[in-house]
Subunit: 397 residues, 2 copies
C-alpha cells in the first residue's frame, strides 16, 4: 500500500511557530540529567517531598469507590468538590471566592497559555517583571505580544512606573512570593501600591503563586487576590506542595474571564483528567497539606541555608546574591565582565549546572546574572557544587 | 487589606477569543446530564468498557515500584517506553515508525490545538470534510483559518476535488475510520487516491483515528499513515479503547514537525502527566488491549445493531441514515423542511437528546441532519429513545 517516492513535504510553519524555541532550561536539563552532575538548574522539586503512599492510597480509594466516574470524560471547568476546596482556601478576611471563579488546568503552564490566548493579540502590550519567569515569557510569546519589562528593585516591581508604561496594556504578570528567578518577595506596602496602580489603569493583574506555601522565614504575606478580587487573576499549583508529575493547577478570576478561559480550554484539551482531580481532592480534603507542607518547608529551608552558607564561604566578594525567604531560587549577579552563558559551559565540564540569567529578561538581558535552585540537591552536594562554581568565578577576576 | 470600590475591569478579549464559543455538544451535554434523559448526544464511551481493576492495579504497581519518578516532572515529548510501544504498533508492512516520530499529548484534542498552532496562520486555508468533527473545527478556528469544506459522498472525501481547492492550503483534516459525525468509512481505493492527491500537492494530511480499533464488521482497513509516512500526520487516542478520563493521546508525524509541536507543547503545558503515561504503559504492555478491545467491540456492535433495527422499525421512510461498520455514530438526514435544532427542543421535552448536524459543517450547514451516538445507552433504552424520536418526526410529515 505504501506510495513509491512521494514528494517530501516542505513544512510551512505558522509565523508564531517560526519564532518558537525550546526553553533554555529544558535544554540544559537534558544535558544535566546524568546523575553525576550536581544540578542547580531545574526547578525540580525534591522527590523526598512526594507523598507517594498518600497518593497511592488516594488512587486506590477513588478507583474502588468511583472508578467509572473517575475514568469518564468530565466537565471543562473541573471537578466540583476540588474547585470548592480551592475557593474556600482562598476565602477569608472579608474576601469570598466562589467555585464558579475557579478553572482547573493541566498545570500552571496551561493557565499561562490560556490567559495569553484569551487576552493577547499580536502586538498587545504585556507587562512583566525584570527579570521574569521564563516559562511565562515562552507561553506569552506564542501570541506575539510587545513585552514591556517593568523596572524592579530588591522588593520587586516599581508600581509608580506603571502609570506611564501600563496604559493600554492587556495584562501585567507578577510573581509576588519568592519570585522565579530572583527569589525575592514583594513587601505588603508594595503589594498594595501595585494592586492600586493596576486598578487605576483597569489593567488585569496576574498573580502567579506556585511557591506561596514554601515560606521559610517570617509570615506569609497577603495575596494580591484578596486586595482586589475583581482585578486580580490568581494562579495556583499542586506541583510544589504535592507533586508536579500529575500536572494540576488552577486559575482564579472574575466569572466573565473564567467563562472565556473555559471555552479556550475546551478547544485546547476538553478538560483536565477527571481521575487526577478526584485523587488530589481525596488526598487533601482532610487537611493533609497542613501537616505535609511543613515537612517540605523544613527540607528546603535547610537546603537554602546550606546554599547561602556555601556562597558566603566560597564566592568572591564581587558577586552578590538574593537571600530568599522561601521558594526554590537564589539569583546571583556576577562582575559585569563575566557572561554566565559561557560560565555554564565550563561549569558543565566540572559537572555542575545552573541556568544563565539572560533568558529571564523579556527585553535587554543582563548577561552577568544566573539562577541557582537549592531544592533538587542535598546539602553536601550543594556545598560541593557551590565550591566548584566559586573557583571558576574566582579564576576570572 | 481589601481595596474599597476599585474600578471594575472592562475585559478586553483577544480577537481570537471573541469568536470562541462553547461547543454545542458540551452545552447539550449539560442539559442532558440528568439520568432520566436518554442521551444519544455525547460521544461518551460506555463506562461498562472501562477496565477499572486493570487501571487500579497499574496505578498501584507504578506507584509502588517507581513512585518518585512517576510523580516528578517528565520530558515534553513523553514517556519513552510508551512512545516506543506506539511506534511499534504502527510499524509493519514495510513501514517503520520510530519513537522520535511520536509526541504524547493530553488527549487528541490537544493534538488538534497544537497542530493548528504550529501550521495555521490567520487566513490560512484549512481543508475539512463535509461534515467534519466539531471538536476539530473548534480547535482550528481559534487560529482563524479560512475553512474549505471538501465535498464528500457516502465513501468520504472526493480526492479529485483537491487539485482545484487544495493549492496553498496548510492542512487537510480527515477521519477515515467510522467518521465523527457520519460514521462512514473510506474504502481502500479512496484512501490511496486521497494520499496521492495530498502528496502531489505537498499538502499535510491529518489522519484522525480515535475509533479505528472499534471495527464491528469486515476487516480494519490500511491506515493513511502507512501509505505515506512522510506526508501523513496520524492521531491516536486511548480514550475509546481504555478510558477517556485520563486524557491521553498521541501524534505521529515526521520528525521536523514533531520537534516543532514539542516546542509548542512545552509552552502550552510543559508535558503530559508522567504518572498517567507510565500507568497506561504498565496496563497495556503485556497485550491487554488485544483481549480487551474485542469486549468493547461486542458491546458496541450490539448497541449499533439495536439502534439500526429501531430506526428501521420506528422512523418514516423519508428519513435516511448511515450504516456504520464501527465507531460510535449514526448520521441521519431528515426531510428538508425539518430543522434538527428545533427538533432537539421537542426531543429534550420528551427526555431524549441528540446533536443537531449544523455545527459539524465548516461552511454551509445542512439543517436537516443530526448525529446519534449508540455507545452511551443500553439497547432497551436505545429502542425507547428512537421510538420517541420517530414519533416526533412522523408528526411533522
Amino acid at each position: 500500500m505504501k506510495m513509491e517516492n512521494p514528494t517530501p513535504i516542505q513544512w510551512q510553519f505558522s509565523e508564531r511557530a517560526q519564532q518558537l524555541q525550546s526553553s533554555a532550561i529544558r535544554e540544559i536539563l537534558k544535558v544535566t540529567a546524568r546523575p553525576e552532575v550536581i544540578s542547580f538548574a531545574g526547578g525540580l522539586p525534591s522527590p523526598e517531598t512526594f507523598p507517594v503512599e498518600r497518593m497511592r492510597a488516594a488512587f486506590d480509594s477513588v478507583l474502588v469507590k468511583q472508578g467509572k466516574v473517575a475514568l469518564q470524560y468530565g466537565p471543562t471547568d473541573g471537578y466540583g468538590p476540588l474547585r470548592e476546596w480551592i475557593a474556600n482556601s482562598l476565602s477569608g478576611d472579608g474576601v469570598k471566592i466562589v467555585p464558579e471563579q475557579v478553572l482547573m488546568v493541566s498545570g500552571s503552564q496551561q493557565g499561562l497559555d490560556l490567559l495569553a490566548k484569551v487576552l493577547v493579540d499580536e502586538g498587545s502590550k504585556v507587562l512583566v517583571e525584570t527579570p521574569s519567569y521564563l516559562g511565562a515569557l515562552q507561553a506569552f510569546s506564542v501570541y506575539r505580544p510587545e513585552f514591556v519589562s517593568v523596572p524592579t528593585d530588591e522588593n520587586g516591581l516599581l508600581p509608580d512606573r506603571l502609570d506611564d508604561i501600563g496604559k493600554g496594556a492587556r495584562l501585567l504578570y507578577a510573581l509576588p512570593n519568592f519570585q522565579n528567578p530572583t527569589g525575592r518577595t514583594m513587601p505588603v506596602e508594595r503589594r498594595i501600591a501595585l494592586v492600586e496602580a493596576c486598578a487605576r489603569l483597569g489593567l488585569p493583574l496576574i498573580e502567579d503563586d506556585p511557591y506561596g506555601a514554601l515560606c521559610y522565614r517570617g509570615e506569609p504575606l497577603p495575596k494580591l487576590l484578596g486586595m482586589n478580587p475583581n482585578g486580580v487573576i490568581y494562579m495556583g499549583s499542586f506541583s510544589k506542595v504535592l507533586t508536579p508529575g500529575i500536572r494540576l493547577g488552577y486559575v482564579v478570576a472574575p466569572v466573565p474571564l473564567i467563562r472565556k478561559l473555559e471555552q479556550a480550554k475546551q478547544a485546547a484539551d476538553l478538560h483536565t483528567a477527571t481521575l487526577t482531580q478526584m485523587v488530589v481532592y481525596e488526598a487533601i480534603k482532610d487537611g493533609f497539606l497542613t501537616e505535609h507542607i511543613p515537612t517540605i518547608r523544613k527540607l528546603y529551608a535547610d537546603q537554602c541555608d546550606a546554599m547561602l552558607a556555601a556562597l558566603t564561604e566560597f564566592f568572591p566578594p564581587s558577586v552578590t546574591w538574593t537571600k530568599p525567604e522561601g521558594g526554590m531560587f537564589i539569583w546571583l549577579t556576577l562582575p559585569k565582565h563575566i557572561d554566565s552563558m559561557k560560565l555554564l559551559d565550563e561549569a558543565i565540564e566540572q559537572l555542575v549546572a545552573f541556568v544563565p540569567g539572560a533568558p529571564f529578561y523579556a527585553n535587554a538581558p543582563e548577561h552577568n546574572t544566573l539562577r541557582l535552585s537549592f531544592v533538587t540537591v542535598p546539602p553536601a552536594k550543594i556545598r560541593e557544587g557551590v565550591e566548584k562554581l566559586g573557583k571558576l568565578i574566582a579564576a576570572k577576576l
